[in-house]
């Protein structure tokens, strides 16, 4: 979606402002949001692409103004409501109503093993890759209102296949529970002038990881 999250190339946002000796968390509530988000993620009620979409799918002004853990909290509440695991009046009153159990729940003694195992997004498919290293490709100009990992700034731009990364779960369908639809994912190199126009080339380029269906031969 062309939402507030699609930030590449946007202007007017000010300096980066790195903080010296920054703590991991800035408030106790941030720790709690982080932990409940990871613990709920382990329930199997949604996948990582659905959770990214839940965070970005809101008014762009609200997205940009919110701090990151506020974005996470918002996304978690959306997912809980959508799946009828939590209702707004429960949050208002603090009184739990009867809701269904979750698929899994992560117990304290399982945390380290679950984190260390991670979750591979790489898959195998029988067909060969459509593109080879060195091929010139143009990113599609698509504007879905749903989740995509093809940023606006790269659409309709031409680059060169730098690496074939392997076959990966496709977020555009996985985020909507329409299947993993695994595809080849490539690192594609775009020159700065191609992305930002002439006179902007500061001897730089951008590499994006792009699924095969995002690309057409140039």
């Amino acid at each position: 979606m062309n939402g507030g999250q699609d930030l590449g190339g946007k202007h007017g946002l000010g300096p980066v402002n790195p903080e010296n000796n920054e703590p991991v968390f800035h408030a106790e509530w941030e720790k709690r949001v982080f932990a409940v988000t990871l613990a709920m993620g382990a329930t199997g009620e949604w996948n990582i692409d659905a959770s990214r979409h839940a965070r970005e799918n809101r008014h762009p002004a609200d997205y940009i103004k919110a701090s990151y853990y506020q974005v996470w909290l918002y996304g978690l509440e959306v997912l809980l409501r959508e799946r009828d695991l939590m209702r707004e009046d429960e949050l208002k009153t603090g009184i739990a109503q009867k809701t269904r159990p979750v698929i899994n729940s992560m117990h304290g003694d399982q945390v380290a093993d679950i984190l260390n195992a991670g979750s591979s997004y790489e898959r195998e498919i029988p067909q060969p890759a459509r593109f080879a290293v060195g091929d010139r490709v143009t990113a599609r100009n698509h504007n879905p209102k749903t989740h995509t990992r093809l940023p606006g700034y790269a659409r309709n731009r031409t680059g060169v296949i730098a690496t074939i990364n392997g076959v990966f779960v496709f977020p555009d369908t996985n985020s909507r529970s329409l299947g993993e639809n695994p595809q080849y994912c490539y690192s594609v190199r775009f020159e700065a002038e191609e992305l930002w126009g002439s006179g902007t080339h500061q001897n730089s380029c951008v590499y994006l990881d792009m699924w095969e269906s995002y690309l057409e031969p140039a």
């Binding site: 699609d6 190339g9 980066v16 709690r32 709920m40 739990a96 979750s119 990966f168 001897n203 990881d209």
Partner: protein, 211 residues
Amino acid sequence: MPHDGHDHDEGSALSPIVLRVKALESLLVEKEYVDPAALDQLIDIYETRVGPRNGAAVVARAWCDEEFKQRLLADATTCIREFGFEGRQGEHMRVKENTDRIHNMVVCTLCSCYPWPVLGLPPVWYKAAPYRARAVAEPRSVLAEFGVTLDEDVEIRVWDSTAELRYLILPMRPKNTEHLNEEQLAALVTRDSMIGTGLALSPEDLAEATS
């Protein structure tokens, strides 16, 4: 911020978001969706056990051992797992080497993808709008804000983490460090140098920083 829960404002010194998070957590615990012991574990792991010292150990090894470096560049996930750094948000690792001709840096313009097992959780600036907007379009001015100025003939490669690959930058080894061992070298490796928004410290920089 429409979800700060203004209903809870009256008669409380706690901010609306604090109260809302407390209510959410206690409901999730009451429903047995989350185990309080798991929440404490998760916080402890990322607050105290996983962080950029992990990545620094990998970088220092690569500086000392050319054979390891070549394996790391070819198969980062496997090599990093040899240190015990693996799993969530590090399932598909890639390492990019900075040289005197090529400078790599990492961003996630669409969210905040970051290699947790080697760097821990990302700093606020990495997740915030200015860096995400500007790193891809004006990397040299972003680097200048971090105090990094590169020659015009150094090519800058910005890696936008749009998929599940996670990037760790292998910074250049500082000059005059031939006498240092792996552990001493690791102390020169900053978090930002592994994102590509900084350079590794010189031994003099480190002495100044710790004096």
